[in-house]
Symmetry: C2
């Protein structure tokens, strides 16, 4: 218990530092040009700055640390995947998708601005992600930058996140546990796996290291999703900063609706242990990655 | 006159070849996976396959030809920018944006499918563009691929196309000719400039060549826009395959509303001549680029 508290403290400190570094970079990159386009920049800033726990950038930083990658390389890569994540939240919240008014404790972009601005702000953050990754500031080797771009684009597109989102919109297609695992592997897992593999790409790590990180990412991704399902079912809307009880209202099956809260929670524990097993070959420098895995169990409290 | 007919024939032949090559690549890349995600893939295919004149891929192919770039490199780069273009058409046609029912003679994606699928199909094509560019099949040099990605992302994002689109949604911001030029340089010009510069990037051309191509791209981009405004004002909806008279109905200023059709047409002629002047330093191998410029004058007939 003491050990778990310590790892969560480590996570808390790392997360706070990453949040402020990410916000600083975004503040620079999204400086409004001072004309009528400011509305677009303000919408992007509204969605991207000062929100969330930046778990995806943290995963990139933690995996990059295993291979001695320069901090700025990892931070910019983490910022890129966060831009894709925020893009997906903006578009997911649109009236034609989940129709949400609240996100990260603030009005969603189409509520604070309007739908057209929300579509464009999501699109522009999507483009920004690839602009950041492909810039020589992210890595001196163009082949490394291209690999990051290609893999992130694949994780975000029809064979990844967007494919998962269409499955999520078609509830008749997902009826059992295998279906939920498949949907979540695409919808949230693909980006999370990219995060941990980005460290290996940046550090030109051997394939075995990449495989282990991929295994860790897949387990952690599903554990996070179970925690998210538990939060949707049992959590407090004010603390979560978003609308809850959505799966039930939409008649969607989830880990919790299929397994019940107790079995879902124990399944998350098994996945976190599996994730940690994948870290063994790396020796001792894995405390942040272990803390992030533990956080999946702690976040629904 | 005879000469202009000949150059338009050349354009016609090149355009037909490019259309079928682009469709062939898209047919491979967008093969439906055979599950519930097929709806997303069908929506992407509906929008991307078999439509348009593929002017952007043609511009990439024509500029790449000046530097002896391999055909597949130029074709894949052209496909990438076409994916960004189709993405922008899908999102532009949404009810919250231009609310159009017809595009390239077919139902728009949100009409043929639904709004949520249209948002995701646009997003997935946006991602596909960068996945294509960053793949080693596009160019053997990772630095070249990264430059293509970074420049295309910048041209598509808040400082380019998306920024132009927000200006277009805020008609009060654009009242005079300078404003229209600025809007169109962002909304359509940034992608067109990318197309002609992509040839220089792929062929590692000297900066002077890139500058000339940029000048050509800027002039051709504005000439195309004037032709588009003339088409919107004077064209036939059935032949155009999309709704017309939109600028007037939306109370937007355009080249035609500010200059009148005759002065707009003569301005387009000046721009086409300027575009051709930028091609002089390249010597004789510029017939396709000249034909594309001529097409800007021919397309509203």
């Amino acid at each position: 218990m003491l050990q778990q508290l310590e790892t969560l403290d480590l996570l808390d400190i790392s997360s706070k530092r990453t949040c402020s570094e990410i916000d600083e970079l975004l503040d620079e990159l999204l400086a409004p040009p001072g004309d009528a386009r400011d509305r677009l920049y303000q919408a992007m800033r509204h969605a991207a700055i000062g929100g969330g726990k930046r778990m995806r950038p943290l995963l990139v930083l933690a995996s990059a640390d295993l291979f001695g990658v320069a901090h700025l390389s990892a931070l910019r890569s983490g910022l890129a995947v966060e831009c894709i994540h925020v893009h997906s939240l903006i578009h997911d919240d649109l009236p034609c998708m989940d129709d949400d008014d609240l996100r990260r404790g603030k009005a969603t972009v189409h509520k604070a601005f309007d739908e057209a601005t929300a579509v464009l702000a999501g699109d522009a953050l999507h483009a920004l992600a690839f602009e950041i990754l492909a810039d020589p500031l992210t890595h001196s080797d163009g082949a490394v930058r291209s690999t990051l771009v290609r893999d992130l684009a694949a994780a975000a597109g029809a064979a990844g996140m967007a494919g998962g989102q269409i499955l999520d919109l078609l509830p008749e297609g997902t009826t059992d546990l295998d279906g939920v695992v498949r949907l979540q592997r695409l919808k949230t897992g693909a980006l999370i796996s990219w995060c941990v593999e980005a460290g290996a790409t940046l550090g030109r790590a051997p394939d075995t290291a990449r495989m282990n990180l991929r295994g860790y990412g897949q387990s952690v991704g599903l554990a996070f999703q179970i925690a998210d399902d538990l939060l949707d079912c049992e959590g407090d809307e004010e603390a979560a900063g978003k609308r809850l009880r959505k799966d039930e209202a939409a008649g969607k099956v989830s880990f919790v609706s299929l397994l019940g809260p107790e079995r879902a929670r124990s399944q998350a524990r098994v996945l976190v242990d599996q994730a940690k097993d994948h870290l063994r070959p790396f020796g001792k420098d894995v405390s942040l990655l272990r803390s992030i895995a533990d956080y999946a169990l702690a976040r629904d409290r």
